[in-house]
Amino acid sequence: MELLEVRNLSKYYKTFRLENISFMLPKGYIMGYVGQNGAGKSTTLNLITNICKSSSGEIYVDGRSCNDDESSYKETIGYIGDEFYFPDNFKVRHIRSVLNNFYKSFSTEKFDELVTRWKLDRKLEVKDFSQGMKVKLMFASVLARETKLLVLDEATNGLDPVIRAEVLKILQEYIADGERSVIFSTHILSDLEQIADYIFFIHEGKMVLYDAKDELMENHLLVKGERRAIFPELQKALIGITDNAYGFEAILPGDRADLLTNDFHFEKPTIDQIVIHYIKDREA
């Protein structure tokens, strides 16, 4: 059963075009949404949260479209961005009060429990919070209500490894009941390797790769060897050939593994390596 369905989503700006993005995220899974700065990650996530309006295409969260009922659509989504979105001069009690007014499913008890557990200062205005405290407050505000989809836009950027690990644990707990999902954009691809089930890779507003993470890693090989050993057919199949002190390094789709001879070494690539070589290939 799909929780998030994106169909032919496009957004046109004067200097950037997000074109025909389509994907589905089943219930109980985490999708890593990756790409370079300016690739269209935040644009896609902002379209899902309806902060931006699409030029064309459709988005459904748990079968609901924002065009049908904006309020109930937004009730189902929790959003955490790299930028702290609560007004600077708010205190924890103001946020609690506002969210309680707006969200039917908001639990003040749960919110208070999370605020206490994470030792968030109730007396300070939120502008005086550390980055880690700000992220935790955003999580508290989202986890204190019944959401179906969590949208994270580089939410772990700038966090120390301990808090990052905590966030990843929260995400795994969030999807544990098999009814909720997470879409998660980040530059820290090692985080995705730990928790993502699907990877969507976007470059210059267009989809490059979209697959289950394990399939993606199984279906690609990291090939190394001497540059002069590359023959024309292999050259065509290799993705993002990069020279280094020992020769070259590139990614090869698994279905072309028959092209490899004893002149080359190969190994299972990381998500990071796959993404970097695809980007190099696109830019070449």
């Binding site: 009730e75 708010f90 506002v98």
Partner: protein, 222 residues
């Protein structure tokens, strides 16, 4: 109901301003008492002037991320815009309240009893509401968060025009009461109707303003 919750967000953000308003009320009473030129009516107008100026505060302290936060809340664009107008309208009532308190304070301190006629109150209220609506339309068309850049330039203009315009008008009437008498004669006993009519007109302008602002923001990205 959600419109009131949006107005509440504006109040929380601008809560320091409310404390400032209380201080200003006291200052106005003292200035009125010291000044020979000012009257209770001027104090009343000053209250409305403050309301017109302070009603734009949510645009002044609004950043792109603040607007984004409000966009995330489960509500419609109309509810968001109505919330802002509820804030503006309530500021106008607060301003009138301050004006009445200032006028009463003036009467107590000077011993001069001065009544402010109801039709005048209604007309001033209507002018205040129309000016607030015009300001809001301007800020919504410019862009809520971008409004802050223009705010320092335009914020004082409508309120000042209102305040000094009404002071000037009062002065002119005092200098040459015959002109005003002629107008009053023309109006006859319809002063109350004009007062209520102007309020009705202002409410219509505000309703139109809400629709214009909603349309202007409906397709905007944040």
């Amino acid at each position: 109901m959600k419109a009131f919750y949006f107005a509440k967000i504006d109040y929380i953000k601008a809560r320091t301003q409310l404390y400032v308003l209380l201080v200003i009320t006291a200052v106005v009473v003292v200035i009125m008492q010291m000044s020979k030129d000012m009257t209770g009516q001027a104090g009343f107008m000053y209250g409305v002037f403050l309301a017109i100026v302070f009603s734009t505060t949510p645009f002044g302290n609004c950043t792109r991320k603040d607007v984004g936060f409000q966009q995330l809340l489960p509500a419609t664009t109309l509810q968001r815009v109505m919330g802002r107008f509820v804030y503006g309208l309530s500021m106008l009532f607060i301003g009138i309240g301050i004006g009445l308190v200032a006028a009463a304070g003036y009467s107590m301190l000077t011993g001069q009893r001065e009544t402010i006629p109801l039709p005048l109150c209604l007309i001033i209220f209507a002018v205040g509401l129309i000016l607030i609506t015009v300001q809001y339309i301007f800020f919504y068309l410019v862009g809520e968060s971008k409004g802050a850049q223009f705010l320092s330039l335009v914020r004082m203009v409508p309120g000042m025009c209102f305040f000094f315009g009404s002071i000037k008008l009062t002065g002119e009437i005092q200098k040459d009461p015959s002109g005003a008498a002629k107008i009053i004669e023309m109006i006859g006993g319809n002063l109350d109707s004009i007062g209520w009519g102007s309020v009705a007109l202002a409410v219509l302008v505000m309703a139109g303003g809400i629709l214009v602002c909603t349309r202007a923001t409906m397709k905007k990205d944040y």
